[in-house]
């Protein structure tokens, strides 16, 4: 093969590689528009239909029907993936649903050494029983303290909202969204819902604070919230990072291959340098 032919063939090969990879990237782009849920807390009346629908869909015991459960702040638990909390404000009560936020770049998934916690291509963050070894590093890492661990079980599971990944995968809607009688919950792609949220804010600036919680928090989340009052008054942490949490350990992880390759070379050189002549 002469030089020209060689260059041509290399050129051809590399263009085809580029073409192939860009085609794949396009395809991925289309599929990877994450689904999301918009929670409009100004519409929620605290009926807890979402809680009951969630428990029924995922086979958990029916939540306590007594209204008194809302007298205190609740967290999602190992038997309840989603809870509604009441916050008293100057005007009236505001109800806020709490569950996994389904971050775009979840801390829990990047913490998981077995990929038991997984951000699916559709958008839901799911937990996989056959992978998890129960180290609970996801619980340490999650900025929203969402994953819950079954401390009472010899075969413990991590419990958290799956955004009804099965139903969503089949083109359905999460159970909680379907159950909401007030249309406080909307389901769609994330960009659609951000547009919709912005539309509501601009159409009715007196009702909403101009902030979509989850648009930037933790680098963007799959659950988006609208509120009448500043979010820290209704149970949201104000000190949450706006960059994604995996970003926090990225620098360290980038340093690993550098140390792994440079250290041995450096140590070997040092060891040779300290060798005595007689050896």
């Amino acid at each position: 093969m002469d030089r020209r032919a060689f260059i041509q063939s290399v050129g051809l090969a590399s263009t085809s590689l580029v073409a192939a990879s860009s085609a794949r990237a396009d395809g991925e782009e289309l599929r990877k528009e994450f689904v999301a849920v918009l929670v409009d807390t100004t519409r929620c009346v605290g009926c807890r239909s979402c809680e009951f629908a969630c428990a029924e869909t995922h086979g958990f015991p029916e939540p306590d029907v007594d209204e008194a459960v809302m007298d205190r702040q609740r967290e999602p638990s190992v038997t309840q993936w989603s809870v509604v909390n009441r916050f008293e404000t100057d005007d009236d009560a505001i109800f806020v649903k709490k569950q996994c936020m389904h971050c775009n770049q979840p801390a829990c998934a990047s913490a998981c050494l077995t990929k038991a916690m997984l951000k699916t291509e559709d958008g839901p963050v799911i937990w996989r029983e056959d992978k998890c070894m129960g180290c609970r590093f996801c619980m340490i890492s999650c900025p929203f303290d969402i994953p819950k661990f079954e401390y009472d079980s010899p075969v413990p599971k991590i419990q958290k909202c799956s955004l009804c990944a099965d139903r969503v995968g089949e083109g359905g809607v999460p159970a909680c969204v379907e159950a909401c009688p007030m249309e406080a919950l909307s389901f769609g792609t994330r960009s659609e819902l951000i547009q919709e949220a912005n539309r509501r804010i601009s159409q009715d600036p007196d009702t909403y604070v101009p902030h979509i919680y989850g648009e930037h928090e933790a680098g963007g989340t799959g659950y988006l919230y609208l509120s009448r009052v500043p979010f820290e008054q209704v149970g949201f942490r104000a000190d949450i990072e706006t960059t994604s949490y995996p970003e926090l350990s990225k620098d360290y992880l980038y340093a690993v291959p550098i140390v792994l390759t440079l250290w041995p070379a450096f140590l070997l050189a040092l060891s040779n340098a300290t060798k005595k002549e007689s050896d």
Partner: protein, 431 residues
């Protein structure tokens, strides 16, 4: 044909002889009923019962872990502090095999053995804490590599480092068994193992700090820093060495019969050298902590209760021992060095527990306090490690010199043959 049967007979004979040797070695040496043994047996028995309960009823039956505090002392103390304490092995092997500071050669084996056992027992204790330990093979066999996880790195490094330390230690096993050729081969692996081991240690000592990087909003600002990996790495150097100093002063008494008079003479000099390295790295650590403190503009926190707690850690358990080390090195006071090492080690326990348990969710209404069962099992792990350590030290050439002179002249401690014919002061220069 005849030669085959002869060699078979020889093999059978050798196997029987080896079997008898192992059986003989397995028997306890010395008195069986001693105060230590009795207490140890009780602790181990109780722990065995508790572990049955733990594995049949779940973690809640034995631990005070909660949804707010997923990690308690089994991680914060056993694994994270235990691994920092085991850091002496990589530092000493660095000094002896890379820098070739032969002065420290006599403590290589005991330090590497201590490090190896610490990893086996303290990192092994992780299995008690894992909710689903049967899946621990998942990140190993590769059906599910979470390579973006710091925990993945730490897990792999633990495993590889245990193998590395075993290779570093293996010549002692070969000497114990009298396998000269194997001994020669294993000895040739040492430098490679040491270099690999130092690299792994750099990464997983810092990796233990990196585990907490994503918990930025949960750890008190006085303890959280993006430099946690570097702080963990630097502190593992003097944590490991302080452990070597303390452990050395104990084995000088406990294993007195094992230690040659020469080693005893040299030991003070070795300890003074280690104290000097401790002091140096502790000054660096203190300086780093001050930089992080100033850089993070944390002045406002100092007047809070957590601020006082931070000052306790930094002043009583970093600044005081570093001064003690410095003074003791200058005046050659061995007692003060021991006190400094104890203070330093307490400081490391505090620091690791602060990051992982105490300053973690310092705002939480309900605190985590370990249950007596968590403490009992931790004690049992320490006791089990000490028993195995004692068994090995009493049998293998760890502190003492090899029982028989290797005829081919190969030894992990080449200087050891020479020193028999030399006076102590000449030994420093001999290689």
């Amino acid at each position: 044909m005849a030669s085959t049967s002869t060699s078979l007979a020889l093999l059978a004979h050798e196997t029987r002889r080896f079997g008898r040797f192992i059986l003989g070695e397995l028997k306890p040496k010395g008195k069986l009923v001693t105060p230590f043994n009795v207490v140890a047996a009780v602790i181990l028995l109780v722990a065995a019962v508790l572990l049955v309960i733990r594995f049949t009823q779940g973690l809640a039956s034995t631990t005070n872990l909660s949804q707010d505090f997923p990690w308690g002392i089994w991680i914060g103390f056993d694994v994270i502090t235990g691994v920092a304490f085991a850091g002496g092995a990589y530092v000493i092997t660095f000094m002896v095999y890379v820098l070739r500071l032969e002065k420290y050669h006599p403590i290589v084996r005991i330090t590497v053995l201590n490090g190896f056992l610490a990893y086996v027992f303290y990192a092994g204790a992780l299995l008690f804490d894992l909710g689903r330990p049967w899946n621990v093979i998942n990140p190993i066999i590769g059906n599910s590599f979470g390579v973006s996880s710091v925990m993945f790195l730490v897990a792999w490094h633990f495993m590889l480092y245990m193998i590395t330390e075993f290779i570093e230690f293996s010549p002692a096993v070969a000497e114990w068994l009298g396998w000269r050729k194997v001994r020669k081969f294993l000895g040739s692996l040492t430098l490679g193992a040491v270099i690999f081991g130092i690299t792994l240690s750099t990464l997983h000592q810092s990796g233990l700090g990196a585990l907490f990087l994503m918990a930025k909003d949960k750890i008190h600002p006085l303890w959280y820093s993006e430099f946690l990996p570097i702080l963990f790495f630097v502190s593992s150097i003097f944590a490991g060495l302080s452990m070597v100093i303390l452990e050395g002063s104990i084995s000088q008494r406990v294993f007195r019969s094992q230690i040659s008079p020469l080693h005893r003479v040299r030991h003070d000099d070795i300890v003074r050298g280690l104290a000097r390295v401790c002091a140096g790295t502790m000054y660096v650590y203190f300086f780093l902590k001050v930089l992080v403190f100033v850089h993070g503009q944390h002045w406002t926190y100092i007047l809070t209760p957590m601020g006082s707690w931070y000052l306790v850690e930094m002043i009583i358990f970093v600044l005081v021992p570093v001064r003690l080390y410095t003074q003791a090195v200058r005046f050659g006071n061995m007692g003060v060095i021991r006190v400094a090492s104890v203070l330093t080690l307490i400081g490391i326990v505090l620091n690791r527990l602060n990051v992982s348990v105490i300053a973690y969710k310092w705002y939480a209404a309900e605190r985590y306090i370990p249950s007596w069962m968590e403490i009992e099992i931790t004690l049992a792990i320490i006791v089990a490690e000490l028993i195995v350590l004692r068994w090995i030290v009493n049998r293998m050439p760890i502190l003492r010199e090899p029982a028989e002179e290797p005829t081919d002249g190969v030894g992990g401690h080449p200087e050891r043959h020479e020193i028999r014919h030399k006076e102590p002061e000449q030994w420093v220069t001999s290689t």
